[in-house]
């Protein structure tokens, strides 16, 4: 097969891509990194400029920036022309997906979305900046932190560094009250409360008793303050414990114990094995002569594997000789990036670099090392661990933002009502103006003979009285704005989270991780997810790598791989007579390949195989841990040393264990050398340099010096990155490359992850040049990464291809079923992966994301034009609506036969054109229009597909795709991922879910919810999401109703518009707090419309959330009309019954209180789907409690309402009135419910009936067959 053949899009894609990016690197090397990350908008780039900010390379970049700015203004001009009224259309678009294209004109799409994308990305970009290391670098350059080793006084002569005392507590005894109150009043709700209370303190407005009105606010404030105080006290305690721990510190030439809080920057500390590191320490020496130390970073990032840290050879030697180290460390200012540290050290006239591998951070633990000695560089609050203890940005749920809209409506009502009352008051005063003096119930003037005679009494003229009346009616009607709702919702969400955490089906027994709710604000969003963006590796797959196939010297091995056969293994090793290393995981070996390895070192094939495995064993960052097990009776393990590999990348671990299985066992690694056991023969290799893996190069290389003096570069990396830098001169090389490419394609079509392995000899000249550059780069303080990358490019060229490996990443359990269910639920699953197209498709097929009956659209263009035409073709072919065509039939047909779209290989349309722009000198309007057009094309096509797989996407591109959907539709998005590369996506999406997987915990830290396995998503969304959505939706509506019914009733009562409240002050206050709050909380936490079995069985029921069935404007208005009816009934029935009677105002108030409490509770009872004993207790209990409170309140003689309830309870009319109120008020609602459920049952209703009737088949014996919903 010839590589020129354009048969394989993938083999061609990388070429162009790499070519273009390297061409960019030529003129602006630092921006090339950004370019790869860059996404679908112009502005992002402008923002990036700041972060790149590299003076010597930014010239060309600034130039291009100007172009972008001008282009942007062009664009906006155009936008104004094209889009006169974009707002209106947006509202329509949250209908069903299938129809939404009809409502959107392309002009609208062109205009609105990009600007929004810009905004969003700018924001995220800014966020990144705050923690970005690039800024810090520059800062550091200007103002490095100087640390004199073992001389804390000189180090801190300006007293600018903090001590090691930490304070996580927020308050002290003195600051507690003001600070806590200040923080609490950040909530708008509390301010509203406070304003009302203040209004009520004014004499003309005192509607409620002054103390009574303070009660609710004080109560809430006190509860919160006590909670905060307790938490803070606990923090104080743990801080004290932490600060009083002791560590060995060098004092006057000897290591003595010293309390942690007294440790200062610049001091030398000694840490023993298994101790916790007290502060950020630069290693000077360790018990290991080579300066190696192992640490566990569990507390910092949650990764349980050991990591290596090194002391620099220069200092380590001195330390081990017992010498005293005096030197100067220049390091960057404290920052929160735990994965980076740049510094250098002057020691004995030498100057050498310090990097992240030389520092151990506070909170880590020392393992497997007897002791380390280091110098404190950051202490206390300035340690990276402390700087990192900030929460991720909070999100707000969709439902809550809708709720705020409705709250605004309620405020309008409130305002109108108050205005009506004020107006009425004004008119009434006007009409009775002459009588006001003598009206027995008004009396605006004093008629005493004393000094007050003739003075007005609480009367300020009609306009002022009207105004006061307005204010006091605000006080009376304040409850209309359901302040308590916010508190209720928090409690309810807490309860819901509790049940999610406690759900045994969401517990991952493999990793032992429970479900975590990291964000308490968005539980109900889980019930409305329309798009899921999933990472592939570690999310869909297990990220437990197994070595499957290898291609060595153009030959394919492992096709007939037998499962690890111990007998064969033993036989082989027996014949070789070599020492066996016992590994934790056994790897199956290919006997054919094994045989080759046991030939003599002779011939190309043999040498290639040798180097191949050498590279696998050497070119990595895996740490071998030897555990010499005592010889047991087992003959197999006799003299066997168990070896355990610790590494950050599971791929590398798999490769190293494979190499070991083939006889190349990595058994020692220090910073300077590695030891490889080659079939029993120990080979010590000096490591001259190591270029770690990064996402730009996509490869890692190691420079090795053999005992015989020859030097080799061993490289492994992604095929795209390596195949382009091969030595292609020789025929042999070409042939090899073709064969390997063939194998690679085969592997990836099986869904395997591939890596290409290559090596080359280094000549002395090359070595020298590289060494000097390497030294320079690795000690530089600024842009070390970039310089290292340039250095790496020096030697990573003209490589000899050795072969390729294929690692299987197994699908997680239950993934296909989960995806199937999610799809049935109407959720669109998009997979965003960095893998190759073939891999992605095969994984897609194996996890049932793709099925054979789907029509596949593959967009795989290398240029903007190509992408555009491909997209346009696909659109035309499948009839996706772009502009103005409207044909619902067609549309439906399209959605019936599911198709999917594939956007592989940087064909992210939005990205391509920009690259063009970058090259063009003068971008024109038309080309800009193309970008946007391309974007909307992509959007149209992608949203009409059930499944979208995007390949080769960079982390920021992932976020860009999420944002594309988020900003253009009103649909909820969920991003799920496990790695650091998913963080941006997780933060961008409405709901971010982290998988506690193998790749560390950054994703979990950034997520809103975290869980162990992908398959839990099914239960999380379909069951908990559904429940939460139903519950919270109902809760909000009910709370609106509950408060409004109370207010409207009072409203009508206005006695001559004087805002009298018939209810006692305490009853008004207790109403929302005690009388009616508990049942709503219980129902919000416990109610279930359907059992989880039904929900899992019929995923379509999830559509209720998509259709916003539980909470929408329509429901809100219906509820409000119902509320109005109920409050009218509540008011008028007692009024008519007690018309012309002797009833007094407090009896009436008592009647109303009881009636309204019973009414809202019965109303709630009518809507409860599921009665458990707690619901019973809460609902009926609160009626009982209300009565109890009334009895207590009416038994206090100082209240005018004394003894009222006893009198009322004796009269049958009272009971009959309450009964009548309840029935009449609820009759319309009940009727509506009955009619709706009988004649227009919803899916949920049908499923519910089916579920309940199935449980009791004897019941009526009828409609059991209706549950096919």
């Amino acid at each position: 097969m010839n590589s020129d053949e354009p048969l394989l899009p993938s083999s061609q894609g990388p070429h162009t891509r790499v070519a273009s990016s390297s061409c960019l690197r030529a003129n602006s090397s630092s921006s090339s990194a950004n370019l790869d990350d860059a996404l679908c908008d112009i502005d992002l780039r402008v923002a990036d400029r700041v972060s790149v900010g590299d003076r010597d390379t930014s010239n060309s970049f600034d130039h291009s920036k100007q172009q972008f700015n001008s282009a942007e203004s062009h664009f906006f001009r155009q936008f104004l022309l094209e889009c006169p009224a974009p707002k209106g259309r947006r509202l329509v678009s949250w209908g069903t997906m299938e129809l939404q294209h009809e409502y959107k004109s392309s002009a609208f799409e062109i205009s609105r979305a990009p600007s929004r994308v810009q905004e969003k990305l700018n924001k995220s970009q800014r966020l990144r900046h705050r923690s970005g290391q690039l800024d810090d670098n520059r800062l550091n350059q200007l103002n490095p932190r100087l640390i004199y080793v073992d001389d804390p006084r000189k180090t801190n002569d300006k007293f600018e560094f903090t001590g090691n005392e930490i304070r996580t507590s927020k308050y002290t005894l003195i600051t507690f009250l003001p600070k806590n109150l200040f923080i609490q009043f950040h909530r708008v709700a509390y301010l509203y409360f406070l304003a009302i209370v203040c209004l009520n303190q004014l004499p003309p407005l005192a509607v409620f008793g002054r103390t009574v009105s303070l009660f609710p606010l004080l109560f809430v404030l006190c509860v919160t303050a006590i909670k905060d105080g307790y938490e803070d006290w606990r923090r104080h305690r743990s801080d004290r414990n932490e600060n009083n721990r002791e560590a060995l510190v060098l004092q006057a030439g000897q290591f003595r114990m010293k309390k942690w809080k007294k440790i200062r920057v610049g001091e030398v500390v000694k840490i023993l094995a298994d101790e916790t590191i007290p502060c950020d320490v630069v290693l000077l020496g360790t018990s290991d002569p080579s300066g190696l130390a192992y640490i566990q970073t569990m507390n910092l990032d949650g990764e349980s594997n050991l990591k290596t840290r090194f002391a620099r050879q220069e200092t380590a030697a001195t330390v081990s000789e017992g010498g005293i180290i005096l030197g100067l460390i220049r390091c960057e200012q404290p920052n929160r990036n735990i994965y980076e540290f740049t510094a250098n050290m002057e020691f004995k006239g030498q100057r050498f670099s310090l990097s992240q591998s030389n520092i151990i951070l506070r909170g880590c633990q020392l393992k497997n090392t007897d002791w380390v000695i280091g110098v404190v560089v950051y202490a206390g609050q300035e340690t990276k661990a402390m700087l990192n203890s900030a929460a991720s940005p909070s999100k707000r749920s969709r439902l809550e933002s809708y709720m705020n809209r409705e709250t605004l409506w309620l405020s309008v009502f409130l305002f109108v009502m108050c205005a009506v009352v004020a107006l009425g008051m004004g008119l009434w005063l006007q009409r009775h103006h002459d009588e006001l003096d003598i009206l027995p119930y008004y009396r605006k003037r004093y008629f005493t003979r004393g000094e007050d005679n003739g003075k007005p009494f609480k009367y300020y003229g009609i306009p002022m009285e009207t105004f006061f009346s307005f204010l006091s009616s605000i006080i009376v009607f304040q409850i209309m704005i359901p302040i308590s709702l916010y508190i209720t919702m928090e409690v309810v969400r807490l309860g819901q989270s509790y049940f999610m955490i406690e759900d045994r089906h969401l517990y991952d027994s493999l990793s032992g991780s429970r479900f975590q709710c990291r964000s308490l604000n968005i539980n109900e969003d889980l019930g409305q997810i329309r798009y899921i963006f999933s990472d592939k590796t570690g999310t869909l797959t297990e990220n437990k790598m197994e070595f499957r196939r290898a291609s060595v010297f153009g030959k394919n091995y492992g096709a007939s791989l037998t499962a690890a056969d111990p007998s064969q293994d033993v036989k082989l090793s027996g014949t070789a007579g070599r020492k066996r290393w016992k590994l934790k995981s056994e790897t199956a070996v290919d006997s054919e390949l094994m045989e080759i390895l046991h030939k003599t070192l002779d011939g190309d094939e043999r040498i290639t195989a040798h180097e191949f495995f050498l590279t696998l064993a050497a070119c990595n960052t895996v740490i071998p841990m030897l555990n010499i097990s005592p010889p047991s009776g087992n003959e197999l393990s006799e003299g066997v040393e168990a070896i355990e590999y610790q590494g950050e990348s599971p791929d590398e671990l798999a490769l190293v264990s494979t190499a070991s299985a083939y006889g190349y066992t990595l058994c020692e690694r220090t910073s300077g050398h590695i030891v490889i056991d080659v079939n029993g023969e120990k080979l010590r290799l000096d490591v001259l340099g190591l270029h770690e893996f990064d996402s730009v190069r996509k490869r890692m290389s190691v420079v090795i010096k053999f005992p015989n003096g020859s030097v080799k570069v061993l490289v492994k990396g992604a095929d795209t990155s390596i195949l382009s830098i091969l030595d292609e001169d020789t025929i042999r090389g070409n042939h090899l490359k073709c064969a390997t490419q063939g194998h690679l394609k085969e592997y990836s079509s099986e869904g395997l992850r591939t890596l290409v392995v290559a090596a080359r000899d280094l000549s002395d000249a090359e070595l020298e040049e590289w060494q000097s550059r390497y030294e320079d780069a690795s000690t530089s303080l600024t842009d070390r990464a970039t310089k290292l990358r340039q250095t790496a490019a020096l030697i990573e060229c003209n490589l000899n291809l050795l072969g390729a490996t294929a690692i299987e990443d197994k699908l997680q359990e239950g993934v296909p079923e989960t995806i199937e269910s999610l799809r049935q639920a109407g959720i669109k699953v998009w997979v965003l992966t960095g893998d190759k197209q073939e891999t992605a498709i095969s994984i897609g097929l194996s996890c049932k994301l793709l099925t054979t009956d789907m029509q596949q659209i593959i967009i795989n263009g290398n240029s903007e034009e190509q992408c555009r035409s491909l997209l346009a073709n696909a659109k035309a072919r499948y009839g996706v609506k772009g502009a103005n065509r409207k044909s619902p039939n067609f549309e439906r047909k399209m959605s019936a036969d599911t198709n999917y779209c594939e956007i592989p290989d940087d064909a992210n349309v939005s990205y391509m054109p920009r690259r063009h722009l970058q090259k063009e000198e003068a971008p024109t309007c038309s080309s800009l229009a193309l970008i946007i057009d391309g974007n909307s094309l992509l959007f149209d096509l992608a949203t009409s597909c059930r499944v979208v797989i995007c390949c080769r996407v960079a982390p920021l591109q992932k976020a860009g795709i999420v944002d594309l959907i988020k900003s253009r539709t009103d649909d909820m998005t969920l991003a799920i991922g496990d790695g650091a590369n998913d963080v941006s996506m997780i933060q961008m999406a409405d709901v971010g879910v982290g998988i506690c997987g193998q790749e560390g915990r950054q994703a979990v830290m950034a997520s809103d919810f975290a869980m162990g396995q992908f398959r839990f998503l099914k239960k999380l969304l379909l069951v908990h999401g559904h429940w939460n959505y139903q519950r919270v939706g109902y809760l909000v509506l009910y709370n609106f109703y509950r408060n409004a019914v109370f207010v409207l009733m009072l409203f009508i009562l206005c006695a001559a518009f004087s805002t009298t409240s018939a209810l006692t002050d305490w009853s008004s206050v207790f109403y929302a707090v005690i009388y009616t709050s508990v049942p709503t909380i219980f129902v919000g936490i416990l109610d279930k419309d359907l059992s989880h079995r039904t929900l899992l069985q019929y995923p379509k029921l999830y559509g209720a959330g998509h259709r916003q069935e539980s909470y929408n404007l329509h429901l809100f208005w219906i509820t409000m009309i119902d509320t109005l009816w109920q409050s009218l009934v509540l008011f008028y029935i007692p009024v008519y019954i007690y018309k012309e009677s002797t009833i007094d105002i407090w009896s009436m108030g008592s009647l109303w209180t009881i009636a309204v409490v019973i009414l809202v509770n019965v109303h709630l009872a009518m809507d409860i789907h599921r009665w458990v004993f707690m619901t019973h207790a809460a609902v009926w209990g609160s009626i009982v409690i209300t009565y109890a409170c009334m009895v207590v309140l009416d038994s206090i003689p100082v209240f005018p309402n004394y003894w009222t309830i006893y009198h009322l309870a004796l009269s049958p009319t009272y009971w009959l009135t309450i009964c009548l109120i309840i029935i009449v008020a609820l009759l319309p609602r009940f009727l509506l419910k009955a009619v709706q459920q009988t004649f227009w049952p919803s899916d949920i209703q049908i499923a519910r009936e089916a579920e309940i009737l199935r449980e009791r088949p004897d019941y009526l014996g009828l409609r059991a067959d209706q549950g096919s919903g």
Binding site: L1086, I1145, Y1206
Partner: protein, 330 residues
């Protein structure tokens, strides 16, 4: 409401499956949200049953209360206009405010049906906003209760203090105490008006102190209404106690007294009214009401009619649902 009893005990299939890890949530029906529950659903059967049940309960109650209401005999007699002499008819206000005019007014009422004792005497005021915020709050319950808090008059302005000290009872409510009086006679024999038990016992015992005597009441400035006998403690001032239970609605009745003898049909009752109270300034009506009671209180057709209507409506709905269910089952 229809609750269908039925518990779902969802089995604990895997409760014992894995207990190796302590982190695994413990199984309980509560945490797994599988508590036994009653799940009501609205089947047509239950809807119909509910409607019928409401109808069956409501219609008899409605009938009973209508019946009771029918048995109540009530005489309402408005006298405020008729008791103004014809020469003052254009200027009723001057008549009522003048201290010289004769306020006595004789009216006669015919008893339509036999009225069994006790016959309650009420006065009814109209357009009098006893529920006005300024009015309702203008009282001091502490002062009413005990002598010790006599000077506790902070809410009582503008009737809080006189030049001789605090007014007891203070406030607008007490100040505007109703002061019309009625004397009844049938066939020239005087009908005793009993004031026993017209006020709540609880009020007399605990709210109005037996050691609190009226003081400085209606002594200066504008006179609002009745004066109180300063030798009788507040707890015995039943008219005041009744008046101080401010009414809920602008049209209200207050109990004036009881007649403890039966009144026969067609008896002519002559009433001598002292027409003192000024309702003319705000167009209030004054009515004298004589009424018997039943178990639902006074004459009140609304309750019965409402119950009958709702019950009938429910039955009608039940029938409609049944018809729909028969002709167009789901």
């Amino acid at each position: 409401m229809s609750f269908k009893g039925g518990t779902s005990s969802e089995g604990s299939t895997d409760s014992a499956a894995t207990k190796k890890s302590s982190k695994k949530p413990k199984y309980s029906k509560f945490t797994q949200q599988e508590l036994p529950a009653c799940k009501p659903i609205l089947t047509p059967g239950w809807v119909i049953t509910t409607f019928i049940a409401v109808g069956i309960v409501f219609i008899p109650i409605g009938l009973a209360s209508l019946f009771a209401s029918e048995h109540v005999v009530e005489i309402v007699h408005r006298y405020d206009e008729d008791c103004v002499p014809s020469d003052y008819s254009d200027n009723a206000l001057a008549y009522i405010q003048s201290t010289e005019t004769n306020k006595t007014c004789k009216r006669s009422i015919t008893v339509p049906k036999q009225m069994k004792s006790p016959v309650y005497i009420y006065y009814e005021l109209d357009n009098f906003y006893q529920n006005h915020r300024r009015y309702v709050k203008s009282r001091s319950d502490k002062q009413l209760r005990s002598k010790a808090s006599e000077s506790d008059t902070k809410d009582c302005d503008p009737e809080a203090v006189s030049k001789n000290g605090p007014i007891v009872p203070c406030g607008l409510i007490a100040w505007s105490l109703f002061n019309d009086t009625y004397r009844f006679s049938v066939n020239n024999s005087i009908l005793e008006v009993s004031k026993k038990e017209i006020a709540w016992k609880s009020d007399q015992q605990y709210k109005f102190g037996s050691d609190v005597y009226p003081k400085n009441f209606q002594s200066e400035g504008l006179i609002g209404g009745a004066k109180l006998n300063e030798s009788i403690p507040l707890s015995e001032q039943v008219d005041l106690i009744v008046w101080m239970r401010t009414a809920a609605l602008p049209t209200f009745r207050k109990l004036y007294g009881k007649i403890e003898v039966d009144l026969e049909a067609n008896d002519e009752i002559s009433v001598v009214i002292q027409n003192n109270y000024n309702t003319y300034s705000f167009d209030g009506k004054k009515k004298l009401v004589l009424s018997t009671t039943s178990w639902i209180g006074g004459k009140n057709d609304f309750l019965g009619v409402a119950y009958l209507t709702v019950g009938g409506l429910c039955l009608f709905l039940a029938i409609s649902f049944m018809l729909i269910y028969v002709f167009k089952p789901r």
